[in-house]
Amino acid sequence: MANTAVSIGRLRLANPVMTASGTFGYGEEYAGFVDLNRLGAVVVKGLSLDPRPGNPPPRIVETPAGMLNAIGLQNVGVRAFIGEKLPYLREFAVPVIVNIFGERVEEYESLAGILSETDGVHGLEINVSCPNVKCGGLAFGTSPETVGEVTRRVRRVTDLPVIVKLSPNVTDIAVMAGAAEEAGADAVSLINTITGMSVDIDRRIPHLRNVTGGLSGPAVRPVALRMVWQVVKRVGIPVIGLGGIATARDALEFLIVGAKAVQVGTASFANPRATLDVVEGIERHLAERGIGDVNEIIGTLREGGEL
């Protein structure tokens, strides 16, 4: 069987397929559908220092080939995560990456400090890109200075691999990726959701109580792919691609443009087995073409087309 293992800095993944934060709960929710040990990594729902209740409903609406959400970073808080959610994940061999966010830089620092001393946490994903709360990250994600500042401060307090999750709601995402790299990030992941909205024409109100929300699902995939392609050209650290990936074909597009790994997100809502389907599809793709190692595919885009 072909080698499917990839490395994100010091983090070794059995295959390049991770879950996307906010779409896979804390892992246990999918236990009946997916053997977590078959995944490259599990990225859990974003955590803050204290629990957050989230936004009032309605919080989601389906849109063409995707959905808008304005959950508002509802989460149990880092203490409850460690006490109540992590023990379940520790039963598995799969690397656990914890997505963190804060309203102040100090909050990111504290979270990184606490999680660095916690057994069973294998990496941190810094969320500087949630569009749905006033200070929930995006405030830091739209300027290279603040992306760099948050990354640097987290880097200083942790030995864990640090992945910075970037927002597409900026003029040039490659600039943000460059800032994360210079500040010591081990990898970047992109894209988070694209800000959007939708209106109920009968009642003339927004479908979401928050008015705007984050667009995800297959609708965003070409945008995400283009941004990953841009960022790969700009930075030397590994790039993790996400945005609308639902099948192995989708994932392979990201790998070919240079992503070292991918995350499957909204697709898990439509098909709880989506992550596993992508893993198995990549394995089949390699086997059918006699490719011995998934790394032989990564970054092999032939931009000139048929040569």
Partner: protein
């Protein structure tokens, strides 16, 4: 007794899809694989395989048969693209079926009277509870009444099934075309003297104004009332956090709970209306 939990994902074949009232359908799905029988009030997610609709949709299971393969029935009203697409599926078509999900109704204790209040398509989860009551022979010695309401007579749902199950049927319509002329809750309000509320379990499902008015009626009553709620959801299994509803927790705080996981059934008095 089947256990709660252990959801499955299977293909299911549409065996029938009948318009039982204007824009209201009853669909029979045959699971192509092991599928656990839902508890009364639990729901399933249905997705049209390779359809134009991206997300699955949640439906209460109103009826269950185990012939050769498990068969379940859902009732739905066409309100948008998801249910519209579903309504056009003919027999033999395949859908993705996942579930069963959520926390259903608590079964009434022995000797308790049971009152079900259903508004329109809200009868669906109540029918599954009636089925269970009939099967378990319970509530022993208690009476069962079904208050079924709709805008008009042609939109009354599940009344024949309720009668078959041996429940006393009490119909209301907003336009007076059948039964009591007015909301289902008003009929119940007028007749509630017939029930010893200390020994009555109520179960309700329907439009939010109906549930809200019932909550008002029952304020301070010793009756136990559970309500099944509906909310837009993406995953159905507790991950997307899209289906939040504000409820009172054990300590009296206002908190968000997931309709898909902690619900869809909640104690009526705990629900906050936005």
């Amino acid at each position: 007794m089947d256990r709660i939990g252990e959801a499955a994902q299977v293909k299911a074949v549409v065996r029938s899809n009948t318009e039982i009232a204007p824009a209201h359908f009853e669909m029979t799905l045959e699971a192509q694989g092991a599928f656990r029988r839902p508890e009364a009030g639990q729901f399933v997610m249905v997705r049209i395989a390779d359809g134009e609709v991206f997300l699955p949709r949640p439906f209460s299971v109103c009826c269950w048969e185990k012939a050769v393969s498990p068969r379940l029935k859902i009732l739905y009203r066409v309100v948008g693209r998801g249910t519209g697409g579903l309504s056009r599926l003919g027999s033999g078509r395949t859908v993705d079926l996942t579930g069963p999900f959520g926390r259903g109704f608590s079964m009434p204790g022995d000797g308790r009277d049971v009152v079900l209040l259903g508004g329109g398509i809200g009868m669906a989860p109540l029918l599954s509870l009636l089925d269970r009551c009939r099967e378990t022979g319970g509530p022993r010695s208690g009476r069962i009444a079904v208050y079924a309401g709709a805008r008009t007579a042609s939109l009354l749902i599940g009344t024949a099934r309720a009668a078959e199950c041996g429940a006393a049927l009490r119909i209301s319509t907003d336009d007076g075309s059948d039964g009591f002329h007015g909301p289902v809750t008003e009929r119940f309000a007028r007749e509630r003297g017939e029930w010893d509320e200390k020994k009555t379990s109520l179960y309700a499902c329907g439009p939010r104004p109906m549930l809200q008015s019932l909550q008002g009626l029952l304020k301070g009553s010793p009756a136990i009332c559970e309500a099944s709620l509906e909310e837009r959801m993406a995953c159905g299994l507790g991950a997307c956090l899209g289906c939040a509803v504000a409820v009172r927790d054990g300590a009296g705080n206002r908190v968000f709970r997931r309709v898909c996981k902690e619900g869809p059934v909640f104690p009526l008095q705990d629900i906050f209306w936005e």
